[in-house]
């Protein structure tokens, strides 16, 4: 898909979302859902970049999200760092962790990368709840319940102030996804695709698998860390319950609904998944079952996710191009 079409879909989506407060600005519940959609759109897009474009089966995205949220909260609560600076530091710290996780993954094949990265996810909860986490200021099993909101020039962006916070989230999501779009359409993106399609052939042409794979780990971890940090300051509290498999599965559904390797489909996927999930709420215990069935039907009929609607026949045969 061309840069222009991708940018048009992104612009159209964000444009529509930007108009939402005109109609639902006074409905807290919907504004909160929209902000969460923007947050998940970034996380899912990062996941799509590393998995769909770079072909690295990383299952550590939720862990990086939590690391970003926790590190920013710890920086601001324990060290008194202003929230905006804490978010940036959290992004850098998460990128560092991403690189450390990525290093051993470079020597592993697909399913083993998934195991290592999911291992990071699984060990994070006991680590944060245990003595090491407590010493670092994670709040142990209780979590951190007093995260200050983002303040810029004395103006506060938090759950008490939803419309301005929504626009802050929108700007952040637009910036993060714009970075992803530029990367995909730059020589980096071409290198990712070359390595994904045939690593040996790409390397014979001088594409460094080491450099580009590490780069994608660092970039996606950084962006996920920043948006995770925003999540913490927005909600005002975090706990290890964000590491339960519930969120992991929901994010995976967002990527599948949007289309794997079909950026910017994940942005649409995030909105569709969250809204569908909320609309199915009256089904109670049957919600997960119905949601699962809908996803199966969608995958069978639209293997490229909702982006299948925009693809030309030739593009549908060669996704992520």
């Amino acid at each position: 898909m061309s840069f222009k079409r991708m940018a048009t879909i992104m612009g159209g989506t964000f444009g529509l979302v930007a108009a939402a407060p005109l109609f639902v600005g006074d409905i807290r519940f919907i504004m909160h859902i929209l902000i969460m959609c923007l947050i998940w759109a970034v996380v899912a897009s990062c996941w799509d970049l590393i998995m769909g474009f770079a072909g690295i089966f990383s299952f550590g995205q939720v862990a990086f999200f939590a690391i970003g949220a926790y590190s920013s909260a710890i920086f601001s609560v324990n060290l008194g760092v202003p929230a905006v600076l804490a978010m940036l530091l959290a992004g850098l710290f998460t990128a560092l962790i991403g690189v450390l996780v990525g290093l051993p993954c470079l020597k592993l094949a697909g399913p083993y990368v998934a195991l290592v990265t999911f291992g990071v996810h699984m060990t994070l909860m006991p680590l944060l709840r245990g003595k090491i986490g407590m010493a670092l200021g994670s709040g142990g099993s209780v979590g951190i319940l007093t995260i200050p909101p983002i303040r810029i020039f004395g103006y506060s962006f938090s759950s008490a102030n939803l419309v301005p916070t929504f626009y802050f989230a929108l700007l952040l999501a637009m910036a993060c996804t714009a970075v992803i779009l530029v990367v995909i359409k730059s020589h980096w993106g071409t290198a990712f695709l070359a390595l994904k399609d045939s690593e040996d052939f790409a390397m014979s042409l001088g594409v460094s698998a080491f450099k580009y794979k590490l780069m994608v780990f660092a970039l996606t971890s950084f962006l996920t860390g920043v948006i995770g940090a925003f999540y913490g300051h927005y909600i005002g509290m975090i706990s290890t319950r964000m590491l339960e498999l519930d969120l992991f599965c929901t994010l995976m559904v967002m990527v599948v609904v949007g289309g794997i390797g079909m950026f910017p489909g994940t942005i649409l996927g995030a909105f569709i998944t969250v809204i569908a999930n909320e609309l199915l709420a009256p089904l109670g215990t049957y919600r997960a079952m119905v949601m699962g069935a809908l996803v199966v039907i969608l995958v069978l009929l639209l293997p490229n996710g909702v982006m299948g609607f925009w693809l030309k026949p030739a593009e549908a045969e060669a996704p992520a191009a």
């Binding site: 319940l145 969120l247 199915l280």
Partner: protein, 407 residues
């Protein structure tokens, strides 16, 4: 392409069919945020049974202030921070409920989320963390009510029970196993401190994550230690069932104390009479199977007839909370005069089936005669109340029986 658009249209119509529910104007909406999916579904169902029973009773009796109560449910899933907050915004902000009745609700996160509103919010966090959040700003969180005492106090009561049992311990060694969440750690820490103060040796303290079902390594150590007491504090059926199944293959002569973990229905449904001898507790419980007075007995009989099993943790106290709120509304005369309803609840409490209940300065329903901590032993495959606290005293004619693996 046509097929794709047809699919999209059908999906949207399907979702819209569920999204269009609205509450009727002549009802009073009551919010019920509970886990309906995920790891905590079982406890969510137990809480809901009590809430529904109370609301059905009120509706059958003509409603509240002439209006029927309408339950608006919200799936709290696994209590991720944004889900807890979303629940508060949905129920209080969007649906304008007159009160919120929950069970486990977020262990402090819920206080922040529902404290933004004024509708009375009843939760069973049983957590000091939730109380600490309340204490930060009691005026702001004046609408938050905890239905059970905190983990620290429940653990102290468990310790009192273990020290009161008519049984001579062969040694002073105890093994404590607890989950790694705030509840498990709170109870485990308090028990460890209490045992040490009493001169006991905490021979092993193990903090385990949920989902631990392979107990071989821990049981090997326990068999070497031969403790007089093993306390397992895991509020999830699967783990305590697997622990017992593996323990009983080569049991040590230890009193097996399960704390809160004995009360989910799945535990006894699975273990049945095999579990005879295990002790455990239920905060804000209604002792049974024979209740202390005819009204309470009638309640138990009705509950058993409705749900075909004895009372699990949470059912009775959530029932009582709905009745307490309804009583406050009746006295105030307006379900949406939140300030007055909250003031009434705070000042007067409620006269329940076991007597008067009253929330303390932290809006916590501390263990009290009207809502005691009930200590059980499994006998004949059922929970039999053997002690109540406070004060710790034997209950009715029921007696503690030395477990068969010790005899």
């Amino acid at each position: 392409m046509m097929r794709k658009f047809a699919l999209l249209a059908v999906t949207i119509l399907f979702l819209a069919a569920f999204g269009g529910t609205a509450s009727a104007a002549d009802t009073i909406p009551v919010g019920v945020p509970l886990a309906m999916t995920g790891a905590y579904t079982g406890s969510g169902q137990d809480y809901f049974k009590g809430i529904k029973m109370a609301i059905d009773e009120i509706n059958e009796a003509g409603g509240l202030l002439g209006k029927q109560l309408e339950i608006i449910r919200y799936d709290s899933k696994e209590f991720a921070p944004e889900v807890v907050m979303q629940g508060a915004d949905y129920l209080c902000g969007q649906k304008k409920v007159a009160s919120v009745h929950a069970g486990w609700a977020g262990w402090g996160q819920d206080v922040r989320a529902y404290g933004k509103y004024d509708a009375p919010f009843f939760a069973d966090d049983g957590s000091q963390a939730a109380v600490d959040v309340f204490r930060e700003d009691p005026k702001k969180y004046y609408n938050i009510y905890q239905l059970t005492d905190v983990g620290v106090e429940q653990a102290k009561s468990m310790f009192r029970l273990l020290m009161t049992l008519p049984y001579k311990y062969p040694n002073n060694k105890v093994v404590i196993i607890n989950t790694d969440d705030s509840w498990g750690v709170e109870v485990g820490d308090t028990l460890e401190k209490s045992f040490k103060e009493k001169g006991w040796k905490v021979a092993k303290r193990e903090t385990v994550p949920y989902g631990t079902n392979e107990w071989g390594a821990i049981l090997t150590q326990i068999r070497r230690i031969k403790p007089a007491i093993i306390h397992v504090e895991i509020p999830s059926a699967q783990e305590v069932i697997t622990f017992f199944r593996q323990f009983i293959k080569r049991p040590t002569k230890s009193i097996l104390s399960y704390g809160w973990g004995i009360t989910p229905r799945e535990v006894l449904q699975n273990l049945g009479k095999d579990a005879d001898g295990i002790v455990g507790e239920m905060p804000s419980g209604l002792p049974g199977p024979k209740a202390p007075n005819p009204a309470a007995q009638a309640w138990i009989d009705k509950y058993v007839k409705l749900y075909k099993h004895q009372i699990p943790a949470g059912s009775w106290i959530t029932y009582t909370a709905v009745k307490a709120w309804a009583n406050a509304v009746k006295n105030v005369g307006d379900a949406y005069n939140f300030k007055a309803v909250n003031k009434y609840l705070k000042d007067n409490g409620y006269k329940g089936l076991l007597g008067q209940i009253k929330w303390d300065k932290d809006n916590v329903l501390r263990a009290q005669p009207g809502a005691p901590i009930v200590h059980y032993q499994v006998q004949g495959g059922e929970l039999i109340a053997i002690y109540t606290d406070p004060p710790i005293k034997p209950y009715g004619n029921y007696k503690f029986i030395v477990p068969r693996w010790i005899k």
